[in-house]
Symmetry: D2
Subunit: 458 residues, 4 copies
């Protein structure tokens, strides 16, 4: 790995790097906008990460838009600094966002294009020298994308791309000592890396994401469709997938659940609207369901069966989109809480219901959760929204009638909250926060007063 | 410790908290501006932390100015959020700086008032619930200050103030699980805490701070006085103290070193312009000096003797302000580098000289250092400044003829760079970065198009 | 008047001016917080501007809080600039907010303390040299305040305070050629000044301010009280006073109007909760009412009579708080529109009602208005709010159940929208926009490439 | 012209407009990056506006880069608002940049593509409905560009493009009453329009732009080349062209003037490196030169003759690149000042020299100038720069060894300073300042305290 200061030097000395990266972004965005190329990447993603064409295309589209956002001068605009007058003539303090220098990026299997491109380009935009590791199962997508970036003008030495397993990567990190490592992936590995790297890390790990339906029932068809999409698109293998649904009793009296059930039933292996679960096998999924059904009052709403007639290997999971109802009172019990809020990276959700006076219990359930990634509050009642937002800490929180948990684009921040190690992705704020640190340079050029005299020692 | 979400709730629900904290700040600033009160705190600081009246008063003054800065509406202005239009009518994304909730603050002996007040108020301003631990040797200062804040209206339950040793504090942190811990102190403990708390930490630890004198020799008297002040004020017990001085050969031919020597000779125990060293005893200080003097070409410039005629206990250090010259070539040798760049928290500095063509060697020496806190480049040559700034990564870097390493005020950022765990202190940027995290709330209230139809599954 | 560049020089050269103004602000805020002094100013305001103690005290309080906001370093923080990397090493562009130099401020009778202090200090904070003219009827308040500011350290030569009539002031402006003139007052004079000064002006003139009550009827008592306050406090002599009320028919069926009537009846001359109207005499007020009552369907809701048993001179107006109902259809007729929307700077409002399907007519009525100062939309229905906000252009617009038209504090922008000449008051944004202009300074220091060769001519 | 509020509605309601404009910008930028298209526009510009290929291509390139800058989400990022907590739960103030609605743009002959595209797109980005008038002599360029924008997706009804003379345009403005008019052109017409439109205007008019060479003589060849370029490229028909050169006596002793003379002699009609002057005929140019030469001590440095062997019509000017030396003392005399500082929109500059102790005279000369557009201070002496910058008020000011007066790109602000009517062009700051106004919307949704009671009247 290159040394930090020679990287900073490059950053500082070569204004043209900003312009070069702005050019590369404009060119790469244009290429991704061509149907032939976007179709190529969409299908390549589908080859390694089980999702529908539309979902895979979503990655390509978001990546294109992100690159458009940093065309032209927008890379150098990220390096915008500020200055404030000092205490006397000739003094002025400047606040910069400074690159770390050598950094590392580790990204998971479920978004083989979007996550590595957005984080990699962010690291480059801010002046760092990144080494990139993408989950080996899917790294072919990023390999092709790097070639496209090279074609657009990215110097080959600007990014080190590595293919290895996790242990090897940890060893590399401990030896190379990158100043910062961005990790997107499972909580378990995140915690281990945080210790190994003594906290020099930014994390975006999993979430047990919740959605609350407020007292004002409206547009049931729309809300049901969003629920299906949030829970089951990409077979639930998004860190933002809806893991639990808290329905106000008013919604319980609506056709909501029946409609969600109908949507779930439309999903099929053919077009990958449901597909293999890469991190939990079928047996474990069914076992989890059965444990939940032992909780008093719980019931299977739909799904819960293994998929049939398929060639999915046994090391993966394959079940129907599933929803299990558990009573709110039971969820809150110490014996059940951990079980109910266990994150299942698959097409699986918990559903529960609350009465008007039970909102504090719902908020209490949220408060006990560990990870705070996405959330949704489906309501247009401003006082209800105010109450729930004020009492929760999730990072990316959608509120209002059209609230969802998934589908974060490139135009707003996506990331967890409540943790100083939390990373963000995509927006100018996320790039600056994750990929640079504050450096203050105080100019103090004089003149020194003609009548200056040596003061007393202090 | 209070739970995080109930803290956020308070933050969100009670706009008046911002106003209350603005009022408290205005009142406390006014009280600290009264001579009787500022004198009280100045002398109290002197009782526990060995420094001159002027240096101790500096803490009180900076604290007063900091509190003035967050009078009136300025606390709520810290909570300023932004919003961007979404993809359709009714959608808008909002970026907030959100409080962590329960947080911890641990501060050292050398600034018993300034560091804890600035960090504590920052934590409160952003909506957190802090527990504060100040080094027990000096915590009486902060105890008195808390009483003053209570008098100005701070509710007693808003801050938990704890007196204990480090082990007990670690135990408390591991059990109470604050979402964020700010630690200011030694690198050794910082690294340990980073592991214990799995990286949920912001650090401001020690620095081996350097100053470079550029080729343009001007205002020798002024520069010499600043060097004396940077190296020896507070007996060098500032994390920003000048630890090494790189002189261009042009300065070597000037009366600079002689003038610094004269300044150092003016320092005396009487008025604490030199005083006890709390973390290294006399024997260790002299040993370090002797080791340095064994390096070929090195020599004692001045000082280097134990103080006499005093009652400083033997567990502390007591030496004259000391400067040791070591040749640049020797500093860079692997065998010497660690010894020469060992941080001595006392009145002790290394001096070296470089020729015009040796600047790359100087930059190489800087690059190898671990901590990157403060630095100074004394020159008004814009191309020289550009070269050194671009090749270094220190956090608070003073440049220009009047550049210094110490004496950071409340009006600009102070803190290390190049480390994602790095904290800052004092300014709006520092407060927001250390004491809050990004939360994105996306309003998406509709309306839903009248002709909306259920899309295909994806 | 001083020349512009010598003023800029002072600004640029003397960092200490920022600190001095921060100190003055902190001290003056503290003095205004003392009951003895705030009481003095409150009663002095009452002597010259007819309003209740509470309303007059409001000015003092807002002024105090404004001064607190710019204590300490906050004046220099207003001068914050930004910088962006250039096209090559050594180039960097800086965006500053630069002072105009010599400027003028002209303020009206109705806020004798708040408006002149906030604008004057804003002008000073940004580095200008102001001449200040306050309406001569009330200028004694500002004279006393200037003495207080001098006492706090403001140099006497920093502000020129002039007492004269309007013609003399115009003559002075045409000769002295201030680079910018801030005018707060009547639309008629504003338009004349805009021509005289060839547009080198910022304006905050009158407004025919509207309030809309949406379909969701809630908290009738509260809303009625706010309506009374907005229409009749300070006898309606605020540029933000509620001039017309559009009620959804649902509110027409509530006790709202009866409750407003009761509130109006509580007002009395004794405590100046109703008082003299300085710019329209009684006869003219009654004539206006009578003209309105000739519109088909219109009716007097309450008030409409001259006050009795008082010693108010005949050149002023003295009537009961008055409300006249006019049907919406009639308001929109070309023959009536100008009459109905004529601004009456007194305790006088129009009331009308609209049915659910008549919202477009209401929006049409708003659109035809000239001035766009304040407005209120009383509703918590997010889709209704969205519709009205999107179709209106008023500057300071309050929305939600607690929406009001008056009572703007120092913590948010107050000013008109939709006009490039529009001024703002009080906030950092307002100060920067009104009292400074953009200046871009591009540093381009080299080095020039060693192999640079003279290019072809272009 | 469309009504303002229906425009705002469109802005507010249709988030997609931002996305549409981002798409159009990306596509149009891509098209302009294609050699075939950029060549077409470059030559089309040359057909109507006399400048070299390189200079004309510069317009196309800057336009392309500007459009890249507002690709993707960057248009909506321009509409970024901010929010601050209010005084109680449920209150929050939001600051928006709001469109004016109907606006007008009037642009001159010398930049037929860059100025109208940048201002037009800025107006659209911020949500306005513009009518555009380009100088009829050159409007064919913009007509073609509008067709390209339509091809990229711009709806035809979004821009009204008008071809007419100035009187007709004034009449249209007075009738249609655009809320804002952007005028780029001569000072004379600017002042007239300011009165006609009562100040509802932003101006970017001409400038008598100066360059100062400081005491530190370096890189004479480079500086001479920049001087030639600043004074004579586009035959001096840029509002940023160097009109006067103040040389420190040290430069007087260098080969600078001789080198500039050589560069000037290279210019020729063939490739339009010198060409017709559109606003001053040859006779008037020679007359001006002769008047200057009557000033005692003045002399012709080079040029000063009419061009020969050409077919330039007599209504235009045609002279060699010309420089006239006038002694500093004479420039400052009241009788000469107006003559010397008369702006000549052609290849014509004044040169003068100052001694070390005459800097105050130079600054005095600057101070007396009317327009404050561009300026340059060629020096790397930080104290010298500080002095000149602090005492001047020009808008776009280049400083440092490589300082120039012309060639402003799209990445930094270009515009005058010191005038509240001053416009800017190109950057996000310029777009927001010129094409939008502040609107503050305060949400205040409650809840109202259960124990709320009706207060006393005030």
């Amino acid at each position: 790995m290159e040394s930090p200061s020679s990287v900073s030097l490059k950053w500082m000395k070569e204004g043209y790097r900003y312009l070069m990266l702005g050019d590369i972004s404009a060119k790469a965005a244009h290429l991704l906008s061509l149907p032939k190329i976007s179709d190529f990447f969409t299908k390549l993603i589908q080859r390694v990460s089980p999702k529908s064409y539309q979902q895979a295309y979503g990655e390509v589209y978001v990546t294109q838009k992100f690159l458009e956002n940093f065309s032209g001068d927008q890379v150098r605009f990220l390096a915008r600094s500020f200055a404030v007058p000092g205490n006397h003539l000739g003094q002025q303090s400047h606040g910069f966002r400074w690159p770390y220098g050598p950094v590392a990026i580790i990204t998971p299997f479920n978004f083989p294009l979007e996550i590595p491109v957005l984080q990699l380009m962010g690291a480059l935009y801010m002046g760092n020298k990144p080494v990139l590791k993408v989950d080996s199962k899917v790294s072919i997508v990023m390999e092709k994308m790097l070639r496209l970036l090279h074609e657009c003008g990215l110097p080959r030495e600007d990014v080190d791309f590595i293919n290895c397993d996790g242990n090897t990567m940890t060893k590399l990190l401990l030896e190379a000592k990158p100043r910062m490592t961005l990790f997107t992936g499972s909580s378990r590995i995140a915690e281990k890396l945080a210790v190994d790297l003594k906290g020099r890390i930014k994390l975006e790990d999993a979430g047990f994401d919740w959605k609350i339906l407020g007292p004002d029932v409206q547009e049931v068809d729309y809300v049901a469709w969003v629920c299906d999409h949030d829970a089951y698109a990409c077979s639930g293998q998004k860190c933002s997938a809806q893991s639990i649904l808290f329905m106000h009793e008013n919604w319980g009296r609506s056709p909501l659940l029946d409609t969600i059930k109908k949507h779930a039933a439309r999903r099929q292996l053919d077009d990958l609207t449901v597909g293999p679960v890469l991190t939990v096998n079928t047996e474990a999924l069914l076992l989890h369901k059965n444990k939940l059904l032992k909780i008093p009052g719980s019931k299977l709403l739909f799904g819960g069966k293994a998929l049939t007639n398929h060639s999915i290997p046994a090391i993966y999971g394959a079940i129907e989109p599933t929803a299990v109802f558990v009573p709110l009172e039971e969820i809150l019990k110490d014996d059940n809480y951990e079980l109910v809020t266990k994150e299942i990276f698959g097409p699986f959700q918990i559903v529960t219901e609350y009465k008007d006076n039970q909102l504090p219990m719902v908020l209490n359930a949220l408060e006990k959760m560990h990870a705070h990634l996405t959330a949704a509050v489906v309501s247009n009642d401003v006082l209800f929204l105010q109450e729930v937002i004020g009492k929760s800490v999730n990072g990316t929180t959608y509120v209002g009638l059209r609230a969802r948990t998934t589908g974060a684009p490139q135009n707003h921040w996506f990331g967890p909250a409540g943790d100083p190690r939390g990373a963000g992705i995509g927006t100018p704020e996320a790039i600056k926060l994750v990929w640079s640190c504050h450096r203050e340079i105080i100019y103090d050029v004089g003149p020194i007063a003609r009548n200056w005299q040596i003061p007393r020692s202090t």
